[in-house]
């Protein structure tokens, strides 16, 4: 595990190194790849540690690597208002027919995760364990499929939804 000259990664490796799979700092963005089962714990450490103090969850999204295992990758962008530094945290999420993709929700740590996790559920179909109100955000409830998955064709048509009442 390398710290890539980044003080953030150095501290993270020293304190929670056992939960990390790899690190890199491509284009100057410090990045840590976590084991998914320890996501909540490491995120809590990142938020509460006084030297890191990542008090803002700026962005949350997922990437669909169709042919890789694990198929999905959660991507979190953290920002510390006190120290003005950023960190990208990633965690792989496996997807199988009998065990659909699921990852821990971060709503209890940062309320800003609420809507963004709903968007990821909407677009990628990843479930968030512990999310208070997991439903579609941008699309409508009758929408079939999750459009940002790589196996969702761009031209696919959706069934017509009739009036609801």
């Amino acid at each position: 595990m390398e710290d890539c000259g980044s003080g953030i990664l150095q501290r993270l490796i020293a304190e929670r190194g056992e939960h990390l799979e790899s690190t890199h700092a491509q284009h100057g963005d410090a990045t840590a790849l976590l084991r998914p089962e320890s996501l909540l714990e490491v995120m809590r450490f990142l938020r509460d540690d006084s030297e890191l103090a990542f008090n803002m969850l700026t962005d949350l999204t997922a990437v669909d690597w169709l042919d890789r295992a694990p198929r999905f990758e959660m991507v979190y962008h953290l920002y510390s208002l006190d120290w003005n530094h950023r960190l990208r945290v990633k965690a792989g999420v496996p997807d199988a027919p009998d065990a659909p993709a699921q990852v821990d929700s971060l709503c209890e740590l940062w309320p800003s995760a609420n809507w963004m996790e709903r968007e990821v559920w909407d677009m990628y179909g990843i479930r968030f364990a512990g999310h208070p109100d997991l439903k579609r955000l941008l699309l409508y409830e009758e929408f079939e499929g999750h459009p940002l998955r790589k196996d969702y064709p761009k031209e696919r048509r959706q069934p017509l939804v009739g009036p609801r009442n």
């Binding site: 491509q26 284009h27 963005d29 990045t31 008090n55 803002m56 969850l57 700026t58 962005d59 999204t61 990437v63 669909d64 991507v75 962008h77 920002y79 208002l81 003005n84 950023r86 990208r88 940062w110 309320p111 800003s112 609420n114 809507w115 963004m116 968007e119 677009m123 579609r136 955000l137 941008l138 699309l139 409508y140 459009p147 940002l148 969702y152 761009k154």
Partner: protein, 407 residues
């Protein structure tokens, strides 16, 4: 529990008014500038709970980007925040440039700052003007929109289109500013300043306007941080957060400007922050004009053949350039595999682009972090217990732009 909420609790225990009323507001409501639906639970005229439904303008921006080449996504970014299209252009192009490792020529930096600030000015004018309109003040709206028209006229001179500018290119801008642009721009700035002064006289100290805004829609500093709220909303709550100062990009480290910070975090603070930011934008534009005219002719695009299309007269007359042009258009830039996140300060807050490339000419993933969507999330918190009418200014000053919020 706030005073209003306590009063509510008391009301709902009594025999009278014990049933809450559910009100659907939107998706197309005359008092909201933005296509959004609110499901409001009302006790009398007070809001007990509120649920926001967004997505009415969802067009699949991110999916669409994954099917074209890198440069073909630039016109789509115009349609994100259509009030400040150039800022969205800048955000996307800077993210691609970060992946490619391109350093921009100096003149391009200044041109981007100039175009971006014009765009920000237009966005803030729309926000303040439309907020006045929705509070039934028609005249200041007209002044604000007239000033916005002036910024759009300048954008048309510079980019060729008023709204969907498509001005920024990967590694530069479409073309340099016209020779007579500085003069027109200075004349435009003078007119905009006069209109801002009129605007200020009509509303800033007007008692009706102040009573509607002061003390409504308060969000605390801590809540802003927890909800990752950025932009004027966060600054009105006292957070000195501005990408232009914190992580200076382009030429922002070479211009002199201040960022206004509010104290209370109510709508009135947001209004004042926006007005002050408009004056700062005008200052930045003037400094850009000075810097650009001092510079003299200089390239506005990088000479990198990966992203720069060959000069046109070469394409017309010589075979090598023609072949290069064919390759550049049909293939587009090959971006090395990797990922990056680039954030800029857009008119609404931190506009970030997270790009993943798998080494081909087509983006693997384009994620846009929409500031309007994330700033809208704490809206239920901001209006809980308030009167229904307070929802209007609160929603207006968040400035949710459908195109960017729903993508």
């Amino acid at each position: 529990m706030s005073e209003a909420a306590q009063r509510l609790a008391g009301d709902s225990r009594g025999d009278l008014h014990s049933e809450h009323q559910v009100l659907n507001m939107g998706p197309s409501h005359p008092a909201t500038h933005g296509t959004v639906k609110f499901l409001i639970e009302l006790d009398g005229e007070n809001i007990v709970s509120l649920e926001v439904f967004v997505g009415y303008l969802h067009r699949g921006f991110e999916k669409e980007c994954e099917s074209g080449s890198w440069y073909q996504a630039i016109p789509y970014t115009d349609r994100l925040n259509y009030n400040s299209a150039i800022l969205c252009n800048i955000g996307y192009c800077m993210a691609v440039e970060k992946l490619l490792g391109i350093a921009l020529p100096e003149r391009c930096d200044w041109l981007r700052v100039l175009a971006g600030e014009l765009s920000r000015l237009g966005d803030h004018l729309t926000r303040c003007g439309a907020a006045c309109l929705e509070l039934q003040a028609m005249t200041p709206f007209l002044y604000g929109i007239e000033a916005r028209e002036l910024t759009w006229d300048l954008q048309e001179e510079l980019c060729g289109a008023r709204v969907t500018s498509n001005y920024i290119r990967i590694g530069g801008v479409k073309h340099d500013m016209p020779g007579d642009f500085p003069g027109k721009c200075r004349a435009g700035i003078a007119k905009i300043r006069a209109l801002l002064a009129d605007f200020d006289k009509v509303v800033t100290q007007n008692r009706i306007f102040v009573d509607r805004l002061r003390g409504t829609g308060i969000i605390s500093r801590e809540d802003c941080i927890r909800y990752a709220v950025t932009g004027p909303v966060a600054r009105a709550s006292g957070i000195a957060l501005d990408m232009r100062k914190d992580e200076p990009y382009l030429a922002y480290d070479r211009v002199d400007f201040d960022i206004p910070i509010g104290e209370v975090g109510d709508n009135y603070d947001r209004y004042l922050v926006c007005v002050e930011e408009m004056h700062q934008s005008l200052r930045i534009i003037e400094q850009c004009l000075v810097a650009l005219s001092r510079m003299g002719p200089a390239p506005v695009n990088v000479a990198d053949p990966r992203v720069r299309w060959p000069a046109k007269d070469g394409v017309f007359n010589r075979m090598e350039e023609l072949i290069q042009q064919f390759k550049a258009v049909t293939e587009g830039p090959m971006v090395p595999a990797g990922e990056c996140y680039q954030a800029i300060e857009s008119a609404n807050g931190e506009l970030g682009f997270y790009l993943v490339s798998d080494g081909t000419a087509v983006p693997y993933k384009v994620r846009c972090r929409p500031p309007s969507l994330i700033n809208l999330a704490p809206l239920p918190l901001m209006v809980r217990g308030a009167m229904l009418a307070d929802l209007i200014p609160t929603f207006d000053f968040i400035n949710m732009i459908g195109g960017e919020c729903d993508r």
